[in-house]
């Protein structure tokens, strides 16, 4: 394999890779090796992207070789291979995997190996998709910048001094930096969509319950959802179909059969569709360049035959507040299990009595970072005696109001549209000391989590003032994820015509970095912290 071939391979979409693999023009081992080489070239070192916390070289190559062997042998086994068999993928390190460490970006799980696979991971294995490794995230997915990872921040491939969004900055950056064609993320308040927006990639939060949460380390159980992180809308649909569908291990999993999402992405027609601008989710507080690209997208959709309407969701003003009560409340309980008894870190108190209670307290003090502690304390407060009704109870009522706003909006619009995030990627460290400013990044993405409706973010161009990617968010009614793919694919193709190719073609090349051994790279990443 030549250097040029390898560079070309990593630039292909998952759909293109799948096609070439099926036609036996390329092998899965070549594809996996090309991505491993790319990871080695751009991820490590002082100014590396640091998207990966663990690289799964051996297993990924073994799965690739297995797929290649099946294809080479032909016959029924080759026929039965999944469309994406042999196409590699990266997995957010919040999702548990046998055979690789799972840290959740936290010191408290450093070195922990799960004895079981998440349902989505089982489905990747069933489809014989090689897993390239585990991607960086804000500790326990708490953050919007990936700066809250205990293993150092991930850098935005568009500008290495900027954040890649969060919490799934690792998955988004890996895909944007061509280290993986596909990745899995989790989205509790925007952790798939907002990183997608600021890295120029596509991210989808499916309808709550349509992808199993079994094996995704819970932050807020009633908000969390696993979803695809890709470079194209079609790739998201392909991956969504792999991971989606009912799972008996998740009581909140919908019994519905999965819609034909890939067909929706390939259909590409918005004629006569009503697309609603949410009055409350643009304008004031949104960066001018973000607003401009948003308007460009509206214009393209209009030209393609969509009817653009305006809807009002007056209760969205309470959504952020409700989210910052529900999420920490559930998180405070979900994270109680990390206590140094059954797995993970155990830290002994420096002085005083050595009781289990003190050991738990010292372990959690040393194992959790500031943002995690902040949210646990906030959640403990919101659930505590005397405050439950005013905080948690009220927030659950706001949730009803937000759902009613969506219900009303979807009577006049088939799909809703807004910018994904109010700004483009900010500088590393810029908002680290201001939790509230950080929380405001999620203002446009949170309502979908509260109501359980699906959302998709796709690249909408570059902001005039800073040349950084802007994300466009599409929202559909619950169980209507197919609409996102249908509209998203149209908008994507119109924008790519305008840009003369994918937006990521305009991203700076990172290939200048020296090739580093992936194992050494991990050490580097930790030392960089």
């Amino acid at each position: 394999m030549t250097e040029t071939n390898s560079t070309q391979l990593i630039r292909l979409s998952a759909a293109q890779l799948a096609e070439k693999l099926a036609a036996r023009e390329i092998t899965s081992v070549e594809v996996v090796q090309a991505h491993l080489d790319r990871i080695a070239a751009v991820d490590g070192g002082e100014r590396g992207v640091n998207a990966f916390l663990h690289v799964n070289t051996e297993e990924a190559l073994a799965v690739a070789a297995e797929v290649d062997a099946i294809r080479a042998a032909g016959g029924a086994a080759a026929e039965e291979l999944h469309e994406l068999a042999g196409v590699p993928i990266a997995v957010k390190d919040l999702i548990v995997t046998i055979g690789q460490p799972t840290t959740a970006g936290s010191k408290i799980l450093e070195g922990w190996h799960s004895p079981y696979d998440a349902t989505v991971v089982k489905r990747l294995r069933d489809a014989k998709m090689p897993i390239l490794g585990k991607t960086n995230l804000d500790e326990f997915a708490m953050g919007s910048s990936t700066e809250h990872s205990a293993y150092g921040p991930t850098r935005n491939p568009w500008d290495l001094d900027r954040i890649p969004g969060g919490s799934g900055g690792g998955s988004a950056a890996a895909v944007a930096a061509f280290e993986a064609p596909l990745a899995l993320g989790t989205d509790t308040g925007g952790s798939i969509r907002q990183p997608g927006a600021v890295t120029g990639t596509v991210g989808v939060k499916p309808t709550y319950g349509s992808v199993s949460r079994y094996g995704a380390i819970a932050m807020a159980s009633s908000l969390d959802q696993i979803g695809p992180v890709t470079r194209t809308v079609l790739d998201s649909a392909l991956l969504h179909e792999v991971i989606g569908g009912h799972d008996p291990f998740d009581s909140t999993s919908l019994p519905d059969p999965l819609e034909d999402l890939v067909a929706a992405a390939r259909l590409g027609n918005v004629e006569g569709m009503r697309i609603g601008i949410i009055k409350e989710l643009h304008g004031e507080g949104y960066q001018a360049g973000v607003e401009n690209r948003f308007n460009d997208s509206l214009e393209l959709l209009r030209q393609a035959g969509a009817e653009i309407v305006e809807v009002s969701c007056p209760n969205f003003q309470y959504a952020l507040g409700a989210y910052y009560l529900i999420m920490p409340s559930e998180a405070s309980s979900n994270l109680a299990k990390f206590d140094g008894v059954r797995y993970g870190l155990r830290v002994l108190p420096e002085d005083g009595p050595m009781t289990i209670e003190r050991v738990m307290g010292a372990t959690r003090a040393a194992g959790f970072g500031d943002e995690v502690k902040r949210r646990i304390i906030l959640g403990t407060y919101a659930l505590s005696a005397g405050y439950y009704d005013a905080y948690y109870g009220s927030a659950q009522k706001v949730r009803t109001l937000v759902q009613r706003d969506f219900d009303a909006a979807f009577t006049v619009a088939d799909v809703l549209i807004s910018p994904t995030a109010p700004t483009t990627a900010f500088k590393l460290g810029e908002k680290l000391d201001d939790p509230l400013a950080m929380y405001l990044n999620d203002v446009a993405t949170i309502p979908a989590n509260l109501a359980g409706v699906p959302g998709l973010s796709l690249p909408g161009g570059l902001a005039d003032e800073d040349g950084l990617p802007v994300g466009i968010q599409l929202l559909a009614p619950a169980r209507q994820d197919a609409r996102l793919y249908r509209v998203g694919a149209v908008l994507e193709s119109l924008l790519e015509v305008k840009w003369g190719g994918p937006l990521l073609a305009q991203a700076p090349s990172l290939a200048a970095s020296p090739v580093v051994d992936p194992a050494a790279m991990l050490v580097d990443a930790k030392e960089a912290k």
Binding site: T252, Y318, Y324, G393, K397
Partner: protein
């Protein structure tokens, strides 16, 4: 609603089993006061007639048949344990009698 103060944070930290230094308690109290202030509008947003939503998509009666599934060996169960003895998880004393 009362503002959150340092004693509140100390109490909450005890409930949450996170040991905190004096400096940390002060800082956390300041940060939480700001956050709590910013979310307090939530408590006035909805009237008594609005029902609470705890699940975005309502489902009910999701059950499992009473059929035995997989189990771990003791070694698997204890594979991540910080300390163990006699195939059980070992923890320090529960009472402080030092």
């Amino acid at each position: 609603m009362a503002a959150i103060n340092r004693d509140d944070v100390a109490h909450l930290a005890r409930l949450a089993h996170i040991e905190m230094s004096a400096e940390e308690l002060d800082r956390m109290a300041g940060e939480l006061a700001v956050i709590v202030e910013s979310v307090k509008s939530v408590s006035e947003a909805a009237g008594d007639d609005v029902p609470a939503t705890s699940h975005p998509i309502p489902l009910s009666n999701v059950f499992r048949e009473d059929v035995v599934g997989h189990t771990f060996t003791a070694d698997q169960a204890l594979s991540g344990a910080p300390d163990s003895d006699e195939n059980r998880f070992k923890v320090p004393a529960i009472l402080d009698e030092a």
